[in-house]
Symmetry: C2
Subunit: 272 residues, 2 copies
């Protein structure tokens, strides 16, 4: 059986989607048909959404599930006329929070993902630029500014992890590739020595690495299993030898990598 699922919001829809996705991931055997309806900020749009919900109820032969983060009670009421299982996040929790805090909520349109603090926002953009300007060992002049420097062999997952930390947490993360030139003398590349405390290593299973590299440069020495095994073994030995902590990225998502590294390195997010 297929269930239609709506993520509805008066702004971006990101919170609504994340809440819904997090709950739906607990139901593995149901096939969900997901639709996001952001920027529902007028009576006309709310009525349009209610109509869509009713349409899908008829098509599926059962009530759709609706995740909503709409603030305006009038718009909310227009959507609630549709027969659906409505999971209304603000309606459920704002009341108890108002009671606990002893103040009324501002009931303003979703501000979760708007610019509420310009300095914080600028930090975040600066962090993204920092990640791009310090990707793959590039231009490492102001490495002293880095919150973190990821090291590991080429294609082990450094770049997406750095970008994620910059975009989501406002952290300045540089990355530096370990190449065969760096192996053998059991010491870190000279450039990294002053920043030892900022280093965190990434490693990966050689088989997966070979597969990823083959997509980039098929039939190369770079992607041969032999090279990958050698580079991974040497980089892990080096990181162990110099006492830099490391994580295996093979079965971890970018979110898991980023949060695990932050947790272990004692870093906190700079932006919400």
């Amino acid at each position: 059986m297929r269930r239609s699922v709506f993520f509805i919001s008066d702004r971006t829809g990101i919170t609504s989607e994340m809440l819904g996705h997090s709950l739906l991931s607990q139901f593995e055997d149901v096939e969900f048909h997901r639709m996001t309806m952001p920027f529902v900020d007028s009576v006309e749009k709310a009525d349009q959404v209610a109509l869509e919900i009713r349409k899908h109820a008829v098509i599926d032969g059962c009530r759709p599930i609706v995740f909503s983060t709409i603030c305006n009670p009038e718009l909310r009421a227009r959507i609630h006329v549709a027969d659906a299982q409505i999971i209304d996040f603000l309606e459920m929790f704002i009341g108890p929070l108002e009671d606990e805090l002893g103040v009324k909520s501002s009931h303003t349109v979703g501000k979760t993902h708007s610019i509420t603090n310009y300095d914080e926002y600028k930090n975040r953009i600066d962090a993204v630029n920092f990640a791009i300007n310090h990707d793959d060992g590039l231009l490492p002049r102001d490495l002293a500014e880095a919150d973190l420097i990821l090291v590991g062999v080429s294609r082990c997952g450094k770049t997406p992890t750095c970008l994620y930390m910059a975009l989501q947490f406002g952290l300045k993360a540089a990355n530096y590739p370990l190449t065969p030139d760096d192996f053998g003398n059991h010491t870190l590349p000279k450039l990294l020595l002053p920043y030892r405390s900022k280093l965190f290593g990434l490693t990966i299973d050689p088989e997966r690495l070979a597969q990823i590299r083959a997509e980039r440069k098929p039939d190369s020495k770079y992607c041969s299993l032999e090279s990958c095994q050698f580079e991974v073994a040497e980089s892990e030995a080096l990181l162990r030898h110099v006492g830099v902590p490391y994580l295996n990225t093979t079965r971890m998502s970018i979110e898991e990598l980023a949060t695990t590294i932050m947790h272990r390195a004692g870093l906190s997010r700079r932006t919400y």
Copy 2:
């Protein structure tokens, strides 16, 4: 009055933080002291969290607020012994969803941000690589693969928006800078002509642009208000002339830009 807030999770803490942040943003006048405790996956860690909560209750002289996405009922119970306003997302919504769907949830540890589908995950990494390889007009060989091409003057916000769309939605977004060479003849750069339907423009207030550019290259012609006014006026005139839709980024967050563009361009996310 200061309130301590805890975001607790058995995995990354990202869902707990986002949902909590979204609720707290409705209370502008309260000062919150936010702490994230990810990877709470054992009785020992749960007891440690409960202890921290109690400590902060004493320090603040009032109950902390706790946002939790912990699945395991035993761990949940260990945390619930602390006197706090506990907002437990799964506890609140899983029951109604089980009733509606007529199946039991898997009650497994948070999988929202783990790799559940390797193909989907690979798409996402490919999209990040695509964004980096097609940043700032770089290497535009396989532009045909792009879901979207952002155009606009240098420093108007193209790069962070492309990276966000890649990381969060798995979309392949390229970007191409409009420079003074592109103005005057009222036609798009030749390279972009075959991809007209994929184009979306970004613009920005000249004053803000001058400020951003001044941080990068102070006292340059590049950052002069005059140049910025000229480039912005010309790029907007060009986009209007050729009928490419555009957004002003000045007061929009990356999330708002990304979701607004997707909404207007009729694009859906490729990954959750």
